[in-house]
Amino acid sequence: MTVRTGKPFGGWLIWTLALAIAAAVWLWGEALVPFAFDYPKGWRIPAARWIGSFVNWLVKDAAVGPVAFSDLTRFVAAVIDKPYQLALALLADGWQVAEGGAARQVVPPLAWLAVIGIVALAGLWAGGPGLAALMAAAFAFVAVFGQWHSAMVTLASILVAVPVGVAGGLMLGVLSWRHPWFESLLRPLLDLMQTMPVFAYLVPILILFGFGPTAAVVATLIYAMPPMTRVTTLSLQRLPGETHDLARMVGCTPRQTLWRVLVPSAREPLMVGVNQVIMLSLNMVIIASMIGAGGLGFDVLTALRRLDFGAGLEAGLAIVALAIALDRLSQAVARRGYRAPLPGGIVARHPYLTAALALILLCFVLGLALPAVQGYPEAAQLSTSAFWAAAVEWINVTFFDTLEAVKNTILLWILVPVKRFLVGMPWAVAVALLGLAGWRLGGWRLAVLVAGLSFLIAATGQWEKAMITVYLCGISTLIALAIGIPLGIAVAGRERAWMVTRTVIDTLQTLPSFVYLMPVVMLFRVGDFTAMIAVVAYAVVAVIRYTVLGLQGVDPRLIEAGRAMGCTDWQLLTRIRLRLALPEILLGLNQTIMFALSMLVITALVGTRDLGQDVYIALTKANPGNGLVAGLAIAFIAIIADRLLAAAARAQRQRLGLEAA
């Protein structure tokens, strides 16, 4: 692709001219070219209707030969449902028989003490006593705060989703490693899966699989599988050539090559993928509960709807506890390395397994006599609900005026004017300016892509909502930058400060995004301002991370050279460090926008009026067409921002001589 850097003067001229024309059209063009302002209804592409009838056709009539599409979904449902029922019975509900009207439990689920013992043993096996203590503490936390049953329901779905996701991702990854054509087919699909908000495909899944845990697991899989696929392909490609040569020299069959040589050799990077699947599955817990996954996610959601912050926070923190425990466990397993099998009989060879089985048996027997062993006693449960309610009450009473004043000022002076500006801009002008930016940054191909996607947003009748999305996302991103970049600069040079910051942002990232929403709603109630704060809080992490990454990556010799030339610290920062770190910072900006967009859909729950709201409404009405079209529009916005920024970063790197033109 050719990149026009051009003379700065030429660039200036083009932009000034373009902006002048845009302004002229905007001010005086309404009478001449009315269609450029309001996309005419008659020209609309009825994409929502097409998608709706396509999904209907898929469910009712689609078939390949004798196998109907619905058979396929039924098969997938069965594959997921059976193990899920087993895990659910084991962890949460036990086995029951129907007796008259009510169900009677024949076999209880695993005792809570047994589960804590098992996870502690797993921690001990993978990482030693420290990890064992962490695992036990995390699960005990869940029990003490009365979240045990919900947490086990959630854990059951994770236990099903993770292996299926890992296996599926591995298969797809291997296939696209083997067959380049498969990869070139799969890659755009993965891109789309990762940029499209999950909500958008919840509705089709709901229609295909029905409301319930199966649908939730399917949605989780779609969300969590792409990273595993990518990691698999990448780590197979990255294996040293010698490993491939070895397999051929000893005469391995293709299957032996893959399963005996390549996959075990790539174990460490593959475990990163497994970790990703676990974390993303946990991220999905709340969203998945909208289509029928019970458990903690459902608790958070109902709490949010009732605005019961204490309850929501406790369930949310229980998700965090699970996330931290499973994250550390999977990382320890990845680091653990292979060990020699122990000698001796079957019991001596599997000490951990034996201990776990003994523990289960012991707890089962004890549990028959002592109910406190079987289930965590209700009397010993803690709840902070009342405390939080009181705290919120207090803040709201004490600081109501201040908070309200802050909110109103920002709304009045920033949010509303920007919103007016963006919503008022004629769509044709915006499309043309985007196209021009694409052409300047990345040549005509990028121009066509960017202009084409933005035109499609207008053509499907979503321009105004898209602009509201852009406005919320844009302002939040700017604020995140304004906070994150100075913070990043401040901690980048200081070892200790960065360590602390990193721990904090790592933890923040394991929090489900809904958790950000609650305290903000608590203080500011629903609306654009609340959404903005939540988005900023969620997205600022990426800015800090990439700023620090960029600054730390600057070649120290250049800084020394600058110092030798007598630069002041300020000059050093602005002339050398920030400038060289710019490509990374642009990458961070890119990530921030993606974070912001994904969070925006969630903020729809607190009453924004953007595309996210459309997706959400489509979900409640089970309308696949509208949901998908709105979701695709969000994905388009994400793709436009991504491609433009990537091109800008590339141009910048070339100007700095970090990358060949």
């Binding site: 070895l246 005469g251 390395g337 020699a340």
Partner: protein, 340 residues
């Protein structure tokens, strides 16, 4: 010296990297001009190589980084497809063999040792060494017995249960060597097997390698970028530069009669006494009374102690046959640079 009939012959072998390399090669005729190939964006990693490896010899391919050694040896085992040429192994044209035939040949007749060991991290030493046999479907007791035998041979008895990461670099390469020998290969490829090791360990493994070869008598293609290593180990050396073979011969031939300036540069610093063997200085004649005898393979340097001990001549013998004697003045003339 252990030379036999020609085992591995390669004729006019080319390997050109780049898109549509084969088409361009065909278009440019049998003797393409390297500059022309470069213009087309092609890299000729191996060009017009003719080699003959004899049964039971250590054939060393020597060259600086990027000279195409690895590419050549991968062509010889057809891990990569040569762009042009012919490779005969025991009279069979490897380039005409099907992939299934090649798999059989690699399984039973070839072994390879890698620069970075390429051990499988999830297997113990025993399992790593037994892996080539496992791939062939040999039952566990049989393959483990063979693996133990070969592990003992490379001096790692007792470490069968260890994992690769628990071993030092030198030990890891011993495992690599053991693994490549597990199938009793006829043709043994070693691609810079000792380059990743510290000098002392390298020396130790070279000695070990010489000891192994004196017992096993394999046909060996050994790659190195270290000329000292080449001289220590080789029966014959091929020196590569920019993908072509500059000169091929015994270490002595290279040192005494370098064919090109490039080879002369290489060999200049080599002490002749360490390269020239007594066999090339020997003057035939009857065996004098009470003379000390050295093997024909011994170098002039090896004979040093005998001359220092006051002897005027030493005898030379090969496998029990007396060949003749070497005089002190011949040695002095050599050391002073006058040639043979």
């Amino acid at each position: 010296m252990t030379t036999g009939e020609d085992t591995l012959i390669c004729r006019n072998v080319w390997k050109v990297f780049g898109s549509r390399a084969a088409d361009h090669m065909a278009a440019l005729g049998p003797e393409p001009d390297p500059a022309r190939l470069a213009e087309l964006g092609l890299v000729s990693a191996v060009r017009a190589v003719d080699l003959t490896v004899r049964r039971g010899e250590i054939f060393v391919i020597m060259g600086l980084s990027g000279s195409g050694k690895s590419t050549l040896v991968r062509c010889l085992s057809r891990l990569i497809e040569p762009t042009a040429g012919e490779i005969l192994f025991n009279g069979q044209n490897l380039l005409a063999a099907s992939e299934a035939e090649m798999t059989q040949i690699r399984r039973h007749k070839m072994g390879m040792v890698f620069q970075h060991f390429a051990l499988l991290p999830h297997m113990t030493v025993l399992d790593n060494v037994a892996f080539p046999l496992e791939v062939q479907g040999i039952a566990r007791p049989a393959r483990e017995a063979r693996a133990r035998e070969i592990i003992a041979l490379v001096g790692l008895a007792g470490r069968e249960g260890a994992f690769p990461r628990q071993l030092s670099g030198g030990q890891q390469q011993r495992v690599g060597i053991a693994r490549s020998l597990a199938v009793k290969p006829e043709l043994w490829f070693l691609d810079e097997p000792f380059s990743a090791l510290d000098p002392l360990i390298r020396r130790e493994l070279q000695d070990e390698f010489i000891r192994l070869q004196s017992r096993l008598k394999k046909t060996i293609v050994f790659i190195t970028h270290d000329f000292d290593e080449a001289i220590r180990l080789a029966d014959r050396i091929a020196i590569m530069k920019d993908g072509g073979v500059e000169q091929c011969g015994t270490p002595e031939e290279l040192v005494m009669n370098p064919a090109t300036d490039y080879v002369r540069e290489f060999t200049r610093a080599v002490p002749k006494a360490k390269v020239v063997r007594l066999s090339s200085l020997v003057e035939p004649g009857p065996r004098p009374e009470g003379i000390d005898c050295l093997p024909a393979r011994a170098t002039v340097a090896d004979a040093g102690p005998a001359f220092l001990g006051g002897a005027g001549r030493v005898g030379v013998e090969h496998e029990g046959n007396f060949l003749g004697t070497v005089g002190r003045d011949a040695v002095v003339r050599l050391l002073l640079g006058g040639g043979m």
